[in-house]
Every structure is written in structure tokens, then in C-alpha cells.
Amino acid sequence: MKKYLLATAALAMAVSINHGVQAQAMAKPGEALDMVLLPKFLGILPFDQAHQGAQEAAKELENPTPLQFLGPTPENSVAGQIEITTNATTQGVAAIMISNNSGDQIVPAAKAAQEKGIAVVTWDSPIPSAEGEDVFVAQVDFSETGVVMADMALSILGEDGGKFAILSASPDAANQNAWNAAMKEALKGEKYAKLELLDTVYGNDQSEESYNQALALVDKYPDMELIMAPTSVGIVAAAKAMQDEDLCDTVKTSGLGVPSEMLAYTMNGCAPEFALWSFVDLGYLTYQTAYAIATGALKAEEGASFKAGRMGEYTITKDPTRDAGLRILMGPFSVYDKDNVEAAAK
């Protein structure tokens, strides 16, 4: 029983409007393409799920060359991503799928890949300037993320509002920054007038650091009632910290998290509401997109549309959050609470 948010309707429309306008591309299955899936770093569940989805797509498309799932370690994310991109370019792979954690620092490496004829598809987190990138597969609309987070804050804190802080991943993550900015933008609305954002801190997607940052927030702001963590590592670390300190009654946790990891905290009230999209689907759609571009079946230009296997038709549009960027919008958001989290955690 998932609660789909506003985005669903808009998305359905966007997809259907383009339907039939242009001849639809269908990638021919069975081509041997060497493809690299590059997450921000290795070792956390969402990226594993994306990997799963990508493998599912690879199987459907009968690509005989196994998918390479390569990622740096968290502390070496920026340099590691650039290195892996450069190596893949040297090897002459057919497509690189990047969840970019390096800001625009990855641009030279991505451009070099493109010049060699490699399809560069970003997913989860784009290249901010869009240089060196063919298209970005967006999990959700980024300004939508801000609204969803503001809505959850309002629903947890109630009509009377309250004070809260953001526990983000790293200051270099384009998606995190975009979401935080979108949330600040959303907070300007009349509806959220009684919500006050105190601070934004960074736990660098490390459990220990995020845990300590969450506690530091509690100590610094005694009247804070909510920690909003738009990162799957940060949200569990914050929830665990609040539970360990018996603070769950006064300080709630919310943000973006994986249902299976959040189950216990949602059921015991530490994190009454959180949101996410399916990372399996995101990996699947990303692979479909990259495969279609690499085989030449899909051109990375505005208005081009294609059929992405079981997920149906998608169209490339301008990315409203980045001036020069193109994107494919997946969506929608699922908001989880104690009524539906158990089913989703399975």
C-alpha cells in the first residue's frame, strides 16, 4: 500500500504526451557491449540494488559481456571516480554509467570518454555543468525532492511547526546539494512558515561520522525536534543515535532511506516517515538507457524517446535543474510509514 505523491500524475502526463510524437527507438538485444556501472562508492545498499537492476536489464538485453560494477572506497570517492572513468576510457568500453560524486571535477575525464565514442550516462547524481555527459537518468524530479522533504518535516512536526536540521552526505555531492537547495526553496512557501531550518551538517556517508554529527546536532540545538537526512547512510545512523540516547520521543529522524534498513526505526517511532524511490528500477532504467545510446538506437537529444524494457517508454527532456543538461525522469517517490514499510522491506 504505497502512498504515491503528487509527482505521479505529472509524470504520467509527461510520459504520455510524448507518446507517439516521435518514432520510438528500440534497442536491438544481444549486442556485446562492455559497460561499466560506477556508483559513488562501494559498500552501501542502494548502489547494490542499482547494480541488481542493471544486471536484470543486462540479462533482458542479452548482452553477452558481463557488466562491470566498479567503484571507489568512500574516502577516495572523488579521485577514485575520476581514475575509474579514465581507466574505462583507456580500455575502450562502450558505456560508462556514473553516479557522480565529484562535482565538475570529473568533467575532463568524462569528456575524454565521450571523445572516444563512449556513451556517458549519469544516474542518481549528475554532472552539475552537464559537460561530458550524454544524459542524466534522474530518479525523481530534484525540486520535487525538496517538497517531499518539506512535507515530511511538516507532517512529523505538525501544524505548529518546529526546528530541524539537515544531516547531509558530502558537500561535493551534486544530488545532495540540489535537494538541500530545493528544500530551502520549498520552505519559503506559506505552508511551511513555521518550520525553521537550523543548520546543515555533513556525515560524509560514513556511519560513525554521521552518528556523531547527529549527536552533536542534538547537543548544539536543545530545541531541535527533527533531523532530516537525505542519505541512506545518514538516516539510519541518526535514527540509531537517537535510539541509543533515548531521544526518539523528542527528536525524530526523517529523510531518504532504504525500507529494509529503516524498518525497525519506523515501527518504534524513531523515524515515523521517510521516502525513497526504487534503486533497482533506477539501475535497470540506467542500463537500458546506456545500452540504447551505445548501440546507436537512441540519440541523446531533446525529444528522443525509447522503450526501456519492463518500465515502458521514456523521453529525453531538458533538465529544469541544470541549464545545459538533458535528463530522463524516472520517479515516482514512495513515502513510507508504519503502514507500508513492512511490505516494502521484504
Binding site: L42, G43, I44, L45, F47, D48, G71, T73, P74, E75, D199, V201, N204, Q206, S207, E208, E209, Y211, N212, Q213, L215, A216, D219, K220, P222, V233, V236, A237, K240, Q243, D244, E245, D246, S260, E261, M262, L263, A264, A345
Partner: protein, 353 residues
């Protein structure tokens, strides 16, 4: 001065001044941070100090013999991760077995260090720098990029950080902090009164002499590395319980904090002097600094830089100040011997350390 010299050894002056420094630090941070003097700050520091203290006890044993163990952070990470994985697959494992598994794995990793240092004759800094990278590398590779998450762990473990043994007012004395305290006491007593413990000091202060009197140096050095590994394994278990979500990054950089705690705590990096209690004071100092700098929202890079600075200052002051103190004490000894004894009964003197 005479009184001071009679009852206090130079090394104890060092520990007392650290105690004073801790008080100064608390006053300074208290003036900079609102709501600092609360039970909450105490509880926070007590919980965060537990892990550093347990590892620092093992490190002290190693440093006493003129060696160093840089691989502790990687051992903590490995044991936290593999014990977590084991427990996630067999939720019914008895808690005692889980702790034993963590300690056993830590001991094995420590033993590998010990073999290379004691019998391979490779300097410990090189051996453990190597295993620091090797253990972490193995962890990243064997883990297959999976995370241990709280939901896969049994509730007794996840709730362990909240278990409160007793409380004085609002000051909690939690199980993990008490565990660390217990280990400090056991090893403090062991190093002060057991022949085995005193031998570690002997090896560190003068390895040649220790060899001449027939101490089994190799076996003892090996033992200290095994103990350091075992305690790191125990700390790995505490890490697993405290953070619940264990990635391949767990415990990374811990060696810096631990070495800082040990040398700030007055354990001489050239071996032979220092106490377990001192190392615990050092760990408390590091814990206060870390928590307070967190509250002041100072970036992690500055925190690490500050730890580095502390290590330098501590070792430098050991070299300069402690030498002065020792010669001051030695001069007093000479004066004492020169004096005719008919001024009254000669006060009993402690043997020089």
C-alpha cells in the same frame, strides 16, 4: 619540592599535569559551548571514549616494548564487519560466543603482526603499516561491497549501547564504558604487579639488558601484539554494537586517535615507561577534544591536524621536560645520599623506576 620528590615520580608528574590539562580543556570548552556542563556531555564523552580506551590499552602494551601497532584501526574494522556478518547470518549465537569470535579474530590478526615483528625481525612500524593496508584491503575485497545493517542484527546487540549499569544523578555509567574501565583496571594491575607486566617495562627500557638477564623477548613482544589484536577485536565488537551499520570504512583512522591517546597519556614512544591509567587519561583527553570540536562544528580535517599536533607536542615534551624532571629527581637523590643520616631517620625511598 622535597615532599613532592619523595612521593611522586617524574612519570606521575606527567600524568598529573595531563589531569590538569583535561580540567583546563573542560573549562575552556565550557566557556565556548552553551550547555556544556551537563550530564549529556559527560555521557557522550564516556561512550565515545570506550572504543579508543580499549584499543589504547593494547597499544600501550606494545609501545612499552619499544614497538608500535598501526594496524589497530584495520583490525577493529575487520572484526566489527566479520563479527557483524556472522551474527547477521546466525542471529541466535550466544552473546559470549560473539565476543569470543571478535576477540579470536583480533588475536589472529595481531599474531600475524607479532610473528613478523618478533621472529621476522622487521621493524614493527613497517609490519603494521603493511598490515594496516592489507587487512583493510582484504576487508574491502571479501565484503563484496555489502553493509552490515542494524536490522540484520539481534536486538540485544543493537540495544547494548543503551544498557546502563548504574547512574549517579543524570550521569550514566553505561555497560561499554564500564567494560573499558574494567579492562584498564585489569591491565593496570597486571602491568604493575605481575612479573610478566614488569618484564615488558624491562624490555622497553633496555632491550640488551633484558636479553642478558634471559628474558624471552621474542615471546613477550609476540604476546603484546596478540593482546593488542585481541583488545582491538573486542573494540571491534563494541564498534559493531555502537554504530550498528558497519561499512568497510569502520574504524578507519582509529590508529591516529589511539597513538595520540597513548603518547598524550605519557607512555614513552621509546618504550619502558608509562602506565595503562595514563593511556586512559590520554583517551579521555582525545575524547573531550573530539566531542567538543564536533560541537563547535570544526571540520574533520582540522580535528585530525590537531591530533597530529598533540602527538608531536606530547613526544617532544616527553623528550625535553621529562628528561629535566628526571635529572632533577636524580640530583635530589644525590643530595640525599651526601647528607649525613643523623638528621633523623632516613625516609624510605622508592626505587627509581
Amino acid at each position: 619540592m622535597n615532599w613532592l620528590q619523595r612521593y611522586v615520580r617524574p612519570e606521575q608528574v606527567r600524568e598529573l599535569s595531563l589531569l590538569l590539562l583535561i580540567i583546563v580543556a573542560v573549562i575552556v570548552f565550557g566557556s565556548m559551548i552553551d550547555n556544556y556542563y551537563t550530564s549529556r556531555t559527560f555521557n557522550r564523552i564516556a561512550s565515545s571514549v570506550a572504543i579508543i580506551t580499549i584499543v589504547a590499552v593494547g597499544q600501550t602494551l606494545v609501545v612499552l616494548t619499544r614497538n608500535i601497532d598501526l594496524s589497530v584501526g584495520s583490525i577493529v574494522g575487520c572484526t566489527a564487519y566479520f563479527t557483524g556478518t556472522l551474527l547477521a547470518q546466525n542471529n541466535d549465537l550466544h552473546p559470549l560466543l560473539v565476543v569470543l569470535a571478535a576477540v579470536a579474530l583480533g588475536s589472529v590478526l595481531g599474531a600475524i603482526n607479532g610473528v613478523f615483528v618478533a621472529w621476522g625481525r622487521v621493524p614493527s612500524i613497517i609490519v603494521t603499516l603493511g598490515t594496516l593496508a592489507i587487512y583493510r584491503g582484504l576487508l574491502v575485497d571479501l565484503s563484496g561491497a555489502k553493509t552490515v545493517t542494524t536490522d540484520s542484527l539481534p536486538s540485544w546487540l543493537v540495544d547494548l549501547p543503551r544498557v546502563n549499569l548504574f547512574a549517579i544523578g543524570e550521569f550514566d555509567f553505561r555497560a561499554m564504558f564500564m567494560l573499558a574501565l574494567m579492562i584498564v583496571i585489569i591491565f593496570q594491575v597486571g602491568t604493575s604487579f605481575l612479573a610478566l607486566g614488569r618484564r615488558l617495562y624491562a624490555i622497553g627500557s633496555n632491550p640488551d639488558a633484558a636479553k642478558l638477564i634471559g628474558l624471552p623477548i621474542k615471546r613477550l613482544v609476540f604476546l603484546t601484539f596478540v593482546l593488542s589484536g585481541a583488545l582491538s577485536g573486542l573494540a571491534g565488537f563494541v564498534t559493531l554494537a555502537r554504530f550498528g551499520n558497519i561499512t568497510v570504512e569502520a574504524g578507519r583512522g582509529l590508529e591516529l586517535e589511539v597513538v595520540a591517546a597513548v603518547v598524550v597519556g605519557g607512555v614513552n614512544i621509546f618504550g619502558g615507561s608509562g602506565t595503562i591509567m595514563g593511556a586512559m587519561l590520554g583517551a579521555i583527553m582525545i575524547g573531550i577534544l573530539e566531542q567538543s570540536l564536533f560541537r563547535l562544528q570544526i571540520s574533520e580535517f582540522w580535528r585530525d591536524a590537531l591530533l597530529g599536533l598533540l602527538i608531536l607536542l606530547a613526544v617532544a615534551s616527553d623528550a625535553v621536560i621529562l628528561q629535566r624532571l628526571r635529572s632533577l629527581w636524580a640530583r635530589a637523590d644525590l643530595k640525599f645520599i651526601a647528607k649525613p643520616p643523623d638528621d633523623g631517620p632516613a625516609p624510605e625511598r622508592r626505587a627509581p623506576p
